[in-house]
Symmetry: D2
Subunit: 278 residues, 4 copies
């Protein structure tokens, strides 16, 4: 049956990989719709994302490909499908709202399964879109207790990714380890500048002339995960930190949505602490 | 009674204007919170926007100021107030949605009185926010007839500004003249490049390496009104025109909201076919 | 003998091109150092730039490749070599100076054979770098006569490309046709905005909030050739047109040098009136 | 005698400053060519830069102004004059070359008195421009000894500012204290990201999607002085760190020259660890 798949390969580099892989496609009469590859020469790593169409069985294609790539290669033959996401937020609505509007317009290749927040500020907005909202208050709880409650709600959902749309709480290693390569965060600075709390206050104090935002996967180290997308805007001495914060929101929401879009389209490879975005 | 006003002055330039105006503020014991001025030397025009606070009557302040500025000066002493806007749209939701989310978050210094569209595509979204939606179909009508219907709906509203949030229809001079300096449009190109229909198709065909968006006041000449804000993003040969269109939406919505924010804060002077944005 | 070549192919798209081409490389035991390809689906055109290393004869590789690509394909197997350029200028030194400094630093993969100008303003600067300078005055001559003189000087040089580093004269079709795909120009606006004379004056008059520069191949139609690189900077109402011009120079020189660098590295394909830049 | 001066004032904020200062100008019949002011409300500080023309004595104007501003205000009435600079460099020519070309074109409002470097790599380039070049080798010397030699050469020059055009050595507090608010540096990252050595290597390792450059005054703390100008460019996974370095050079040179231009035009106020750039 005619189908379209995204073939994702990362492995140690070796001579002839492009030839051998494209031979598999050619021998089966598949069409290459799109092809990107990259070799990190320093680390001798090969990355490839190819969109192919044709009449084939996914499992058979996988088996054929496995024969020509290194045995420890990561291979994914992905049939494009609508992903599922869970969103964590706190009180600010701009990043969440941007995703909600895209979702409503059919421009987000995902279903929003739930929005979870530690305050009820955003409940009204989320309910306007008929999306389940869960308030999990952190009041009177230890970080660990609160996270357990949040994880309970998350684990009741079906989801591919957890999106931190200005979730203003630090995650414990337990949480992060539970969802490896599944958590995407928007940090309100051009990382690695202004790691940690209140980057706009820090930026204002430092007197920078540009501010920015960074979308990244969340790993153990706070604000240290692989960067997916970044952008900046110019500022000047006239802006107080709250005005920087306000101006920065437009960058934050656009950068998060851009990164989310890359991920939902299987365009991101994680490579150590970096990303390859095709 | 303690109050805060924005003093807006534009007039022919003359020696001592800053002195005379600031003397009025000083003599009345007012505080200057913010002050920006600009002189267009080529055309010998003076522009000033000053935010003052103090205990005074607006009318008295106006009278004092009138004594020191040229008799044909434009003077506005504006008490900051929540403005009212009417939005015109067609089918695309990104620019409208961005305004709705800001409105909901209390970040837009305006009330949305109504959304009017020539299709019902956006009705569902608008109703989610409990904002009146009016479909005014253009089907089977001349441009003039349709506009008359739209103007009827507009004129039933209270409003300060009309925001064209991707309203994909050309306005007649009659319409434009009815709302002078009140109509703000977002054009999906970095004007004056790609005036007219389908700028992304034009941009793709021309093979540009950047695309952009322009927020401007609407005047008689299509896409020729005073520019308020512009921004761009890089593109490359990989993007088909529909992908340019998709990427461009983020620029469009941010630029329109930025311009709208300037206007709602009385930061924009129209100066011939240009703007001064303080 | 071990060598490195850039294999440049553009042709009608066909199934199996990547496979067949990479098979040629594989069968000869060549290493792929870098590979980029692009398919313009709308026009069904295939573009590929591959850097391969190994022990082979260029002519043999070409013959092998010709067997697997369409008979009317454009194929170039290029051994990286220092190119030669001739620069045309008028009075402004920023774009020329930027190239001279890069040249001096060994960062330009080209030798500057000559600088030709219609004024002697830049002679002193060029001679500082021990580069031949030719003044070809246009005074008292028709455009055609002047160009004939310029072409005489050009044709005495060995060169791969002619770089118009702010050459402020319009070229006739005769001139352009004599050097097809060999002339690179920097235009001082983000084309297609402000085609023609004095774009900064035009930009100032139009009241734009961004200005830019465009590097492009020169074809018959003024400012209409394939765009190679573009960039912009923000401006505001405070800048008079001469200040825009001054600010714009930094964009002009950087964009021209960037485009020149792409060309010298054989990274640019001309595709109708567009470019593919790998 | 008709003259033009830049009046620079920074002081504690107080009611009526604009009025009182503009009254001084008005009473003497001076023309205001340009006026910018800024109040840092948080710290209650007032900054003003006014360009005035007229027939007056500088000393008298200063005395009049002193009467109306706080006694501990910083007041400078500056007659625009060509400044003098000394440039420190190491081996890279792009930032130095950019300044040399501007200087040659008469676009730099300064004379380059000398270029001092710890290697002779740049000697040839500097001599092309008939500018004194001093090599002060650091070989076999302690940092303190080397600096003493450099300072000896500097102190033999007349200069207003010392420009570090990619001077790759750390300065001691002794050096920095000797030239307060006179040293401008270009750092090859968007500070405060990647402080210290080899920021491009750091940026590459961190996997950022933008790189940048920062021009700042040099103070005791390495890379911590007041920022004057910053800019960035996008990068991606394809760039090795040396390619980032190469791409970054265009940002570095443009940002340094921009900052230098601000300084030479007396447009920069230092305010704690920040700058006000009018």
């Amino acid at each position: 049956m005619e189908k379209k798949v995204r073939v994702l390969i990362d492995c140690d580099d070796a001579k002839g990989l492009v030839y051998k892989i494209s031979k598999v496609f050619y021998d089966r009469g598949l069409n290459i719709e799109n092809n990107r590859e990259f070799v990190d020469k320093e680390q001798s790593k090969f990355f490839m994302r190819t969109v192919v169409t044709g009449d084939f069985e996914v499992e058979e294609l996988e088996n054929e490909l496995k024969k020509v790539i290194p045995s420890d290669a990561n291979l994914n033959v992905v049939e494009p499908r609508r992903k599922k996401i869970v969103i964590l937020a706190t009180k600010e609505s701009h990043a969440l709202g941007d995703i909600l509007i895209r979702h409503e317009a059919g421009e987000l290749d995902a279903d929003i399964e739930a929005v979870i927040a530690n305050h009820d500020t955003l409940e009204h907005l989320v309910r306007r879109f008929d999306i389940p909202f869960f308030k999990v208050s952190a009041e009177g709880m230890s970080r660990e207790e609160h996270e357990e409650h949040v994880m309970n709600v998350i684990d009741e959902q079906e989801f591919d990714y957890i999106v931190l749309a200005k979730y203003m709480r630090i995650l414990t290693p337990t949480f992060v380890k539970a969802y490896p390569k599944q958590i995407v965060n928007i940090h309100h600075s051009f990382l690695p500048a202004f790691i940690g709390a209140n980057p706009y206050k820090q930026a204002h104090k430092r007197g920078v002339k540009i501010i920015g935002a960074t979308a990244h996967y969340v790993t153990d180290d706070l604000d240290e995960g692989p960067i997916i997308a970044q952008d900046v805007i110019p500022v000047n001495h006239r802006l107080e930190w709250r005005e920087m914060q306000k101006a920065g929101r437009d960058v934050e929401k656009v950068v998060l949505s851009r990164a989310l879009n890359y991920i939902l389209n299987d365009r991101v490879f994680v490579h150590g602490n970096k990303t390859i975005v095709f």
